[in-house]
């Protein structure tokens, strides 16, 4: 049985339903999977999470979490999922310990009973347990929120953009925590706008303006990228970009870090490509072939959609 099943979910906003947040979305998450929903801001990630956590009703379509329907059995779902919204939403005027105890008691459990599950995370903020939650730093707030979402040992954990606005070190730590949680058998759905985090998931769904562009393992998505990808660099990057954009042999070129990534319509060897570039531009160009990453795949999927 799948942990989460989403079938043809449509969600629109506005009186005339003029804004489509989710457009016929379907996917499936297996138990124990770390599933990433990757997409830019406004792609519909939060709407999807709110539907799955029974906070929002979809216009049409069906979804189940842990085998329970999100509309009919919402009470059952609320007992067994953990949800960590993108915005910090614990009580800022209660202390770390009081927040945790409060959420434990409303799930009819105790901190002590599930301490082994949150131990790794909670230990890092335990020295500050008497501090009010509102006075914690961003990273600590997030650890507390995760602890509170986990305190009732949920079978499915929903994390809505947990790493947005968190520094690079804390992000890395956070993903390591998720891996350890996965080992405990908890299914985790995590949304993120950061492409580099996609590689850390078991499976990712790329989502854009309410539509799923692709669902695959991170490797699978990269392997789907069949065309050779070239990285080009010169002294005047903007000039190079504008000149190459004009050429009809070029399928796509876009800035990517310190290079431009270049995709050609036809296959060329490195020598003939060098020759072609020398003819096409006045710039002195450095050229190398690179392995595409998720971001390249996403850009190409977005443009071809």
């Amino acid at each position: 049985m799948s942990a989460v099943v989403v079938e043809n979910i449509i969600k629109t906003y506005g009186k005339k339903k003029e804004v489509t947040a989710l457009n016929n979305i379907s996917f499936e998450v297996k138990p124990g999977e770390l599933y990433g929903i990757i997409g830019p801001d406004g792609a519909g990630k939060t709407s999807l999470f709110r539907i799955l956590t029974t906070l929002l009703l979809a216009d049409s379509g069906k979804a189940t979490v842990d085998g329970f329907d999100v509309v009919k059995d919402y009470k059952e779902i609320r007992k067994r999922v953990g949800y960590m919204p993108g915005k910090f939403s614990l009580y800022p005027d209660l202390s770390v310990e009081e927040n945790l105890n409060f959420f434990a008691t409303i799930f009819n459990t105790t901190v002590h009973g599930n301490y082994d599950l949150i131990k790794d995370i909670y230990q890092q903020i335990e020295p500050f347990k008497n501090r009010r939650a509102g006075k914690l730093s961003g990273g600590m707030k997030q650890k507390l929120a995760l602890s509170c979402a986990l305190i009732h040992r949920p079978s499915v954990l929903f994390l809505d953009e947990p790493t947005t606005g968190v520094d690079a070190v804390s992000r890395k730590e956070f993903w390591e925590m998720l891996k350890r949680l996965k080992e405990q058998g908890i299914t985790i759905l995590v949304s993120t706008p950061y492409m580099d985090e996609a590689g850390l998931c078991d499976k990712v769904a790329l989502i854009q303006t309410g539509k799923i562009l692709s669902i695959n393992t991170p490797h699978g998505i990269v392997d789907d990228f069949k065309k050779p990808l070239w990285a080009v660099k010169s002294a005047n990057m903007l000039h190079l970009l504008n000149q190459l954009k004009e050429k009809e042999e070029v399928e796509d070129i876009y800035p990517f870090g310190e290079y431009h990534h270049l995709i050609l319509k036809s296959q060329l060897s490195k020598e003939s490509l060098e020759q072609w570039i020398r003819n096409s531009t006045t710039e002195n160009v450095q050229l190398q072939m690179v392995r595409p990453d998720i971001e390249d795949c996403f850009i190409s999927l977005m443009k071809n959609y």
């Binding site: 906070l55 919204p85 009580y91 005027d93 209660l94 008691t105 409303i106």
Partner: protein, 372 residues
């Protein structure tokens, strides 16, 4: 029950941790009850009087000293020119003009009658009205005294005379504080009940904790009860504090029983908490809740019979006051505190208040459901 216990524990923790709310709950009743009743006094004192005396006789002197010794009037100026006195009124130094014509004494003695002229500054209507009435009474009294001096009336007067004397029941000394303090107490209770509840619930919406609560198995009614019970208790606490202040500062001891007051207050708070809940369901942030409850409070206070008597309002306004829970409680408070009414006397108000509680809470819960 266990869930409710923890919700209440959390709620009280938050309330006692918020110094602003605590200060509000303690200081608001004390300040309002100690300051307002002294300021909101209807009795007119210090009416500035200009006297124009063209007569300068013994009788006119006697009249003027009688007026000024009454305690209501301050003799602003004493002149013999109407224009000058009118100037005083125009500069807002004077509220009333009394003109004593020349030959006042002569006419009074010879012709048994004399005329006086009175002019009032009607910009402050209440002051002009009351001042005029006081002055009239004093002059009539003076008139009788003069007549008593001249003729020794027979034991049984040949002409019929009706003299009206009045006594103020339930408040023999017409002490305005007895009248105002219970009313102000009601307003305080209403503020605690509706404003604080509304703002507290909306705060959870604003910081997003309501989402987090909604994904837990907490039931709606647990959440709502967890919000209402603390403020119900706080409301009764403020009432107790207010009654203690009324006792210590003004010596007001309710003629009726405290039990009656608390029973009605308990029901009244239910209705007002329902109002707070209702306001919270219609507001998205604390500002909206604040403004909305401020708007409602204004109407409640002005149409509640605290400052202006409901009986003297036009009929349409009286109809509106029937939908104002505050007016019932002010009425009941005055009945119990001054008149000593018992539970059976306020039966009708109790039933109406239960109706308010059911309707307001029902409406709030209905619209809370629809929106979540």
């Amino acid at each position: 029950m266990r869930t409710l216990k923890f919700l209440l524990q959390k709620e009280f923790r938050q309330i006692f941790r918020d110094p602003a709310i605590l200060r509000l709950i303690f200081i608001m009743p004390v300040i309002q009850l100690l300051v307002l009743p002294w300021a909101a006094d209807y009795e007119m004192k210090n009416i500035n009087l200009s006297v124009i005396d063209h007569d300068h006789s013994g009788y006119s002197q006697k009249l003027i000293s009688k007026i000024t010794s009454s305690g209501y009037f301050i003799l602003n100026d004493y002149s013999n020119s109407f224009d000058k006195s009118l100037g005083e009124i125009e500069h807002d130094c004077s509220d009333l003009i009394l003109e004593i014509p020349a030959n006042f004494e002569q006419d009074l003695v010879k012709e048994d009658k004399a005329k006086l002229f009175m002019a009032m500054n009607a910009i402050n209507g209440v002051k002009a009205n009351l001042g005029g009435a006081y002055l009239n009474t004093i002059i009539q009294d003076y008139n009788r005294e003069v007549r008593m001096e001249w003729i020794q009336l027979p034991r049984f007067s040949p002409e019929t005379q009706i003299e009206v004397t009045s006594s103020n029941w339930f408040n023999p000394l017409m002490n305005y504080k007895y009248f105002m303090v219970p009313g102000i107490l009601v307003i305080l209770l209403t503020m605690v009940g509706s404003n604080l509840t509304a703002i507290n619930i909306v705060k959870e919406k604003e910081i997003g904790t309501i989402e987090q609560i909604n994904v837990t198995p907490i039931k709606k009614y647990h959440f709502i009860l967890g919000k209402l019970i603390p403020f119900w208790i706080l409301g009764l606490f403020v009432l107790t504090l207010g009654l203690i202040i009324a006792r210590l500062a003004y010596g007001i001891i309710p003629a009726g029983s405290f039990f009656t007051i608390y029973v009605f207050a308990a029901i009244y708070l239910l209705a007002i908490l329902g109002l707070g809940l209702l306001i919270s369901t219609y507001s998205v942030n604390q500002q909206q809740a604040m403004l909305l409850s401020f708007f409602v409070m204004m109407i409640f206070i002005l149409l509640g019979g605290l400052y202006t008597s409901i009986d003297s309002m036009p009929e349409w306004a009286q109809t509106i006051t029937k939908f104002n829970p505050v007016s019932y409680f002010i009425n009941v408070m005055r009945m119990v505190v001054l008149k000593g009414s018992s539970l059976s006397d306020i039966k009708e108000q109790i039933f109406i208040m239960i109706g308010f509680a059911v309707i307001l809470n029902g409406w709030a819960i209905f619209s809370y459901r629809k929106r979540s």
